[in-house]
């Protein structure tokens, strides 16, 4: 089930339809340092920003086919900061020559009663994970290097185990729908990170 177009959503009147352009790759733990050095040189000069987030993915199962997915994220390093709720649509199957994965994206901030609210609405938490890593910015481009960890005991964020020996590297841009120039900029930035990381558009459906 797909979310209806933004014009019908009652959240706020007249929001712009934001699309997320995404390229993903990974880097092994031993090559992390060189990647961070390279990113620090290429991206806007700012204090290196690390983050530790706990993401919960909620599903609302309909009678027909695809469940509706919402992602709720909270910061472990800043516990008082509001939760971040995100909806990501299906990747647009536009023209194959587009270099990045494009999908509809709706972001809202939420208070700390979000998990209870979602439970009351009928959503059920499907899975959760911890993401810890670094974030870099270059203009509108955002590069996130994160280590994903599995939560062994639900609710206990201390007891975690890393999913793999690699860090996930994601290059993303949030832009209003219709701006296709982004993918070119993303591709040239991705070129500069080779051969350390190969950022490419990976369709998650392929790995189901």
């Amino acid at each position: 089930m797909e979310a209806p177009p933004v014009s019908v959503l009652p959240i706020t009147g007249g929001t712009i339809n934001m699309m997320e352009y995404l390229l993903q790759g990974s880097v092994l733990d031993q090559a992390l340092e060189s990647l961070l050095h390279r990113l620090r040189g290429l991206c806007d000069n700012m204090e290196p920003e690390t983050f530790a987030d706990h993401e919960l993915v909620y599903l609302l199962k309909g009678q027909q086919g695809n469940p509706f997915l919402l992602r709720a994220r909270r910061s472990l390093s800043h516990p008082t900061v509001p939760w971040h709720l995100r909806y990501l649509g299906q990747p647009e199957v536009g023209d194959k020559s587009r270099h990045a994965l494009v999908r509809n994206c709706v972001d809202v901030a939420a208070s700390h009663s979000l998990p209870d609210f979602l439970n009351e609405m009928g959503f059920r938490m499907d899975h959760e994970f911890i993401a810890k890593g670094h974030i870099f910015r270059k203009g509108v481009l955002k590069v996130v290097v994160s280590k994903l960890s599995r939560i062994l005991v639900p609710g206990n964020t201390e007891n975690t185990e890393p999913l793999s020996l690699s860090y996930l590297v994601e290059l993303s841009v949030l832009a209003p729908a219709g701006q296709d120039t982004m993918s070119e900029d993303m591709r040239s930035f991705a070129e500069q990170l080779k051969p350390l990381v190969h950022l490419e558009k990976i369709d998650p459906k392929r790995h189901m």
Partner: protein, 268 residues
């Protein structure tokens, strides 16, 4: 004849001075940038500066190597007048760096012999060269020539050859693992391998595990929102407005209420 040579000399000295002035300015601005704006400096712009300096050095070299340039080595500079007084014109010409043309600065500025350390090193090198004998020297020259020609060949050859070789070398130290990439993307995309309190290993996505308290996904028997909506029977009619996003949901809740009423209201 002599006048032509003089004119040539003057012209080449002029152009050399202007090129060196450009180089000096480039160095000056680069050092300024490094010292004052290092927080905002990015690696590509540092590379640009170095490229600029290298280009300017190249033009100076080309100028010196030009056939029209007379050999500067054959010119001799003799100071005609030394005075301990401050010379304003000289100070202006040299941007206040040489205010006095006296006997203190002349040995430094007009020196033709290399520095004492450099002289020492040159002496050592020529002694070494004399020591090893002509055949050994010849062999060393040949090895150097062979290495240089190999390098030139590698650099001039088409890129594909180089890429194939370097790809082979890179195999030894890969910095990313494609399988890991796929696993991570699948985990972030739809929770493959992340099902609650499951041991490592990909689990069929979308099917929640049973038992754990926080998740409490409905079991397969209770099919989807049957359990959830049974809880919210009172909210059913009110839900359509709130669940604006899930447009089709309200109808499902209404129809399921009957089915769910048979279940315990606290069963999630």
């Amino acid at each position: 004849m002599q006048q032509r040579e003089e004119k040539l000399l003057e012209a080449s000295v002029e152009s050399l001075i202007s090129r060196v002035a450009h180089l000096k300015n480039a160095l000056h601005s680069f050092i300024y940038k490094l010292e004052n704006e290092y927080e905002r400096l990015t690696w590509p712009s540092v590379l640009d500066n170095f490229a600029l300096l290298s280009g300017q050095l190249n033009t100076i070299n080309k100028l010196l190597r030009n056939e029209k340039t007379p050999s500067f080595r054959q010119q001799v500079i003799i100071p005609l007048l030394l005075s301990p007084d401050r010379d304003e014109e000289l100070a202006k010409l040299t941007e206040q760096r040489v205010p006095v043309f006296s006997h203190e600065i002349v040995p430094d500025h007009l020196r033709t012999k290399p520095d004492p350390e450099v002289e020492e090193q040159e002496k050592q090198l020529s002694a070494e060269a004399a020591r090893i004998g002509p055949e050994v020297a010849q062999k060393q020259i040949q090895t150097l020539n062979k290495l240089c020609s190999n390098l030139l060949e590698k650099l001039n050859n088409p890129r594909d050859d180089r890429d194939a070789e370097s790809a082979a070398i890179r195999q030894n130290k890969p910095s990313f693992n494609t399988a890991d990439t796929n696993a991570l993307v699948a985990a972030v995309g739809f929770g493959k391998g992340l099902s609650k309190c499951r041991p490592p290993g990909p689990v069929a996505p979308g099917h929640p595990g049973q038992g754990p308290m926080m998740s409490g996904g409905p079991t397969l028997q209770q099919v989807t929102i049957g359990g959830g909506s049974g809880q919210h029977q009172g909210m059913g009619p009110g839900a359509p407005q709130q669940q604006g996003q899930a447009g089709k949901m309200p109808s499902n809740i209404k129809t399921n209420i009957k089915a769910a009423s048979s279940m315990h209201p606290y069963n999630r």
